[in-house]
Symmetry: C2
Subunit: 456 residues, 2 copies
């Protein structure tokens, strides 16, 4: 028991340290990829101010809305935004089968790689044209499959890696840090919501209902008696510049207290979040200054988000400016760390005990464990139901006391129940095995519980 | 301790019973205003099927999206929907100050009470006209104030009660039952989101980001340097009929597994939810059959939602039809029960201990308690931080074991800490006192903890 309590205590102090803010850099840094400096300090200060009990600037959780731009803020937008790369690859693929498409001058530009032409105009009208050509008539399910096929096969021209690996590790950490302080995080992207929603939940754990984006009109129909939504060429909302606060109002309906962007296209939502907000608020601009590790651009950029007026305004508005070269010790959520994130996400779900303390389990007695993204645990001992709280940190996991019902069952089952519940008290870590097995381990790294995944 | 354990056990069994479904009608009926019958049984069966571990039709919580129509499904829509009543009252109020308005034939119709004229046309164009006249040019904040003023002053012509009291108790219970099984509930209403969001969070606990509605266009501007959103006459989305599945896709981005409506305007979203859905799904239609307690209407109704084709289709589609007269023992979330709901909501938030076991507290030692809507508890003993889980049921509350840090402090503070934490173990109930005080009581109804609210 002592062992377990110490683990709980240590892990809990880590958790508490998160709240204590500055001290969290001592106990366990929730933002390890951020170098010490004004940007990192400003983030800690804001989160502590709004989330600390008794703080005069405390903000209740229901009001802790944070909005993140996507391209250039959470993931790479150079040389062209993900969605531009997608539609250009898509039109090339389609043009092979449908040569007639090439008649369209914008399709021709895409085939000739004249990206500049496509990006002309305030809202990249050439791109919208190709978007309409490639998307129109697809059902939303067919479109999702297109995007997934592209994401699995396409790779970035410079970094030669799948696009979805080119997300920013420091921003991944920031999302996690805000969530651990009961912020609800939304992506407010000029990219199409239909495109972004397909993969952000997997990469950032942000569910579709928390993605605000440009909206292409869809049409409802029954096809062979089955309801489908068919994409049309019309656009309902272009979620950029003034469209961002408008989209935030229409989709979220609540003014954010934190806003993260990287271009003039985010200026209006930065203003909307921070100017005259009765609640304590925070604005941050990611400034791309690192040509070596990523890209350096602001005024003069053909494809990516221009950053001029928003940058000039930052100091007067009190917006924090992140200098990637100076402030980020690591840029990319590289494959390994993405896998680690996926790993801990794989922990969430429903599990069936296959072995307890190397003594197996009864065939007729199913002992189960469900772990939620918030660390809540529940399940059945096979006789009784239980629930409680787990603290998860990297590959360490520790279970708090469990509340359980007290039904009686056959001796053999009651024996398994006591071995099962007792085992949790010794757990300090976990690892994923082959065939999706989950092992819960003790302080010496010995397996004390083995689970198989219960299919969703 | 025994006392406390028994309470925990009983309350927990109630909780478990909720999961056990049918047996829950024995232990504690989560739907007390629903008469036993096919409708009530169908609801229990569906929820148990999708939320029970090991069930072949289990649906993971992230996919448990439930959508509710508003007018006529969650609240009264006769003789006219709330928003119609609102805009008609508004235009009357405005016409007094701006006689020029009366030139408009639709305004004249409103002043003459010729509601029929306003409701003509597929989308009640006359009403949209008045909506535009009354809303255009207002900032979203000014509009919110208008709606609140109306909600506080207006009363229903037949029931002579504030409109917001005319919500359906059985549907309130259904929302709570679904939430307790990790459903995320959305309102998908043909009413304007800007109108509905102002009050649904207070009445149903549904936050603005979970309200999908008709969308009036707004314009972003800086007024005297402050960002504002100004309502325009244009409409972006009319969230009715085919507009509902479209709105669900655009705003939620995930197909629901449960849909609740009352008119042909909900047919498309009922189809979208239930036809060919790979997940176990559920559709329900509220049929207004009770002229005595509420209204009876379906085919022939001037103002309210027509119910013809959706009703014909119900049996072939397997949609559950609620016959209000037969299935609801109580119709209205009357003032008392609304207050009860508000009461338990008042429990949520941050509290400062003012007295512990009738022995007061130290001036310099602040012991705090925060209770979340999910029953999570956390706070500071003044020396250490703690967290845990509470089970709340009506005015009964019981605290599970608390995990705490183990910092040492001055003897007097450590004494208060132990009195504070020990006190929780005896709590079985709560009541709200004057001046917003919170009393936690023991099994004999004695106050053992007194708290004052910490202002948000």
């Amino acid at each position: 028991m002592k062992n377990r309590f110490m683990t709980l205590l240590v892990l809990h102090l880590i958790l508490v340290a998160g709240v204590a803010g500055s001290s969290s850099t001592v106990a366990s840094d929730p933002l390890p990829s951020w170098n010490a400096g004004p940007a990192k300090r400003a983030i800690f200060e804001f989160v502590v101010q709004v989330s600390s009990e008794g703080s005069p600037t405390f903000v209740p959780p229901s009001q802790r809305i944070a909005v993140f731009d996507g391209d250039g803020t959470l993931w790479c937008e150079a040389p062209v935004p993900f969605q531009a790369a997608f539609v250009i690859d898509e039109i090339k693929r389609r043009a092979v089968r449908e040569p007639a498409l090439a008649v369209d001058p914008m399709v021709q530009a895409a085939l000739d790689g004249e990206i500049g032409k496509l990006l002309d105009g305030k809202h990249h009208n050439g791109l919208l044209r190709i978007l309409a050509l490639t998307h129109t008539g697809l059902t939303t399910d067919e479109f999702d499959r297109c995007v997934n096929r592209w994401a699995d096969s396409a790779s970035h021209p410079r970094f030669k890696r799948p696009y979805l690996e080119l997300t920013y590790q420091p921003m991944q950490e920031l999302l996690g840090y805000l969530r651990s302080h009961q912020f609800e995080c939304f992506i407010v992207s000029s990219g199409e919501a239909d495109f972004t929603r397909v993969w952000v939940e997997r990469i950032f754990g942000i569910p579709p209902q928390n993605v605000v984006g440009s909206i292409g009109q869809v049409k409802y129909a029954l096809r062979e008696g089955k309801p489908v939504l068919i994409k049309t060429p019309d656009h309902l909302l272009v979620d950029d510049e003034e469209g961002k606060p408008v989209g935030i109002h229409q989709f979220i309906g609540r003014r954010p207290i934190a806003c993260f962007g990287n271009s003039d296209g985010d200026q209006a939502m930065l203003e909307y979040t921070t100017i005259g907000n009765p609640l304590n608020s925070f604005g941050l601009i990611v400034h791309h200054t690192d040509a070596e590790r990523e890209y350096a651009y602001d005024e003069s950029t053909p494809a990516s988000g221009k950053l001029t007026t928003a940058l000039e305004m930052a100091s007067t508005r009190g917006w924090t400016v992140v200098d990637i070269k100076r402030d980020w010790s690591e840029v990319w959520s590289n494959h390994e760390s993405l896998q680690a994130a996926e790993e801990s996400r794989r922990l969430f779900g429903r599990w069936l005990a296959e072995d307890i303390g190397r003594r197996g389990v009864l065939d007729r007695a199913q002992s189960t464990l469900e772990i939620g993204p918030d660390g809540s645990v529940s399940g059945s001992t096979s006789v009784n139901r239980y629930r409680g709280q787990a603290i998860i940190d990297g590959n360490a996991i520790s279970f708090g006391p469990l509340i359980a019902t007290r039904r009686a069952g056959p001796p053999a089952m009651m024996d398994q129940e006591s071995r099962f519940t007792e085992a949790f008290s010794q757990v300090t870590g976990f690892r994923m095995g082959e065939n999706g097995l989950l092992y819960l381990t003790d302080g010496n790294g010995n397996d004390i519980l083995r689970f198989s995944k219960i299919a969703d």
